[in-house]
Symmetry: C2
Subunit: 147 residues, 2 copies
DNA sequence: TGCAAATTTGGTATGGTGCCAAACTCCTGT
DNA sequence: ACAGGAGTTTGGCACCATACCAAATTTGCA
């Protein structure tokens, strides 16, 4: 994998990035502020932080959109969320419960661990909250020998 | 059970509390500073924070020791760590690996989830890094019907 | 074109973690 | 008995993440 450790972004930033990735087109400050129940200036600053780090592109007064790097990272974040949620559901948590708790934990789960759980689960296609996309080279087709 | 959510302490504070719980008798500032590789003043302040929150008792210039509350909470922290590590080992992580990764994640895992995983695992007695103590009323004897 | 809505900027705050230097306490050895 | 060194605490400062408000700025519609 291309150097994703899973700890590049703070939990909040990761949430914002996932949100931007979920939206089609550019995200307005107001939309993000509403989504996270914060003041618009807070949304601007958090998104600005992601832009400075190269995950988003900022068209001032227009909105924020994903860069290639942001898109790649967001795919990881979504996959991580779904793997963790699926794991929790295997321990008896109901789907929405698993999803909610996954949200709380996932920020601390490394890519390494996600890949291991993913492999151990047999590279599942579905989680409790959506399809799981397996990046080529990230987890599914890799691991030639062991595991 | 008694109102432990699992999110009472920041990850660092939780680590310090576990450390104090692991030591016999009072912990000196220097010991903690060495253990966490920080300046003595930092150790003082972090431990002071735990004391102010009621988890530790502070005998100035003498050391810090657990209060009843701290002891109870530390038991939860250790149990959480071991349950999470055991869970990870079930996904193919080697013992020390599971233990290391658990350390990174456990701060974000709620008591609720710990109890669920614990139950789902059949209230195991051993983890990859030590015995698992099941507080009466915390997890094992509870859950009368379901699960 | 002018004004309302949206956005950004700058100032400020809090909490957690960290450092250093200075002040203070403890204890041991002479 | 007490001086000095080791250990500890205090106060000041810094940084990052997150958050707010008020003021300034830009956009876009009427």
């Amino acid at each position: 994998m291309q150097g994703i450790s899973g700890h590049e972004l703070s939990p909040k930033r990761a949430e914002y990035l996932k949100y931007v990735a979920d939206c089609t087109g550019a995200v307005r400050t107001t939309e993000a502020a509403a989504r996270f129940a914060v003041a618009p200036s807070t949304a601007t600053k958090t998104l600005e932080g992601l832009a400075r780090a190269g995950y988003l592109e900022h068209a001032p007064y227009r909105g924020f959109s994903l860069t290639a790097k942001g898109e790649r990272y967001a795919r990881f974040l979504v996959r991580r969320h779904r793997i963790v949620a699926l794991m929790l559901s295997r321990f008896g948590l109901a789907p929405e419960e698993a999803c909610t708790e996954a949200q709380k934990m996932e920020g601390c789960v490394s890519r390494e661990v996600v890949d291991r759980i993913c492999a151990s689960l047999g590279h599942p296609m579905m989680s409790v909250c959506g399809r799981i996309e397996h990046d080529p080279g990230c987890c599914s087709p890799a691991e030639p020998g062991g595991e």
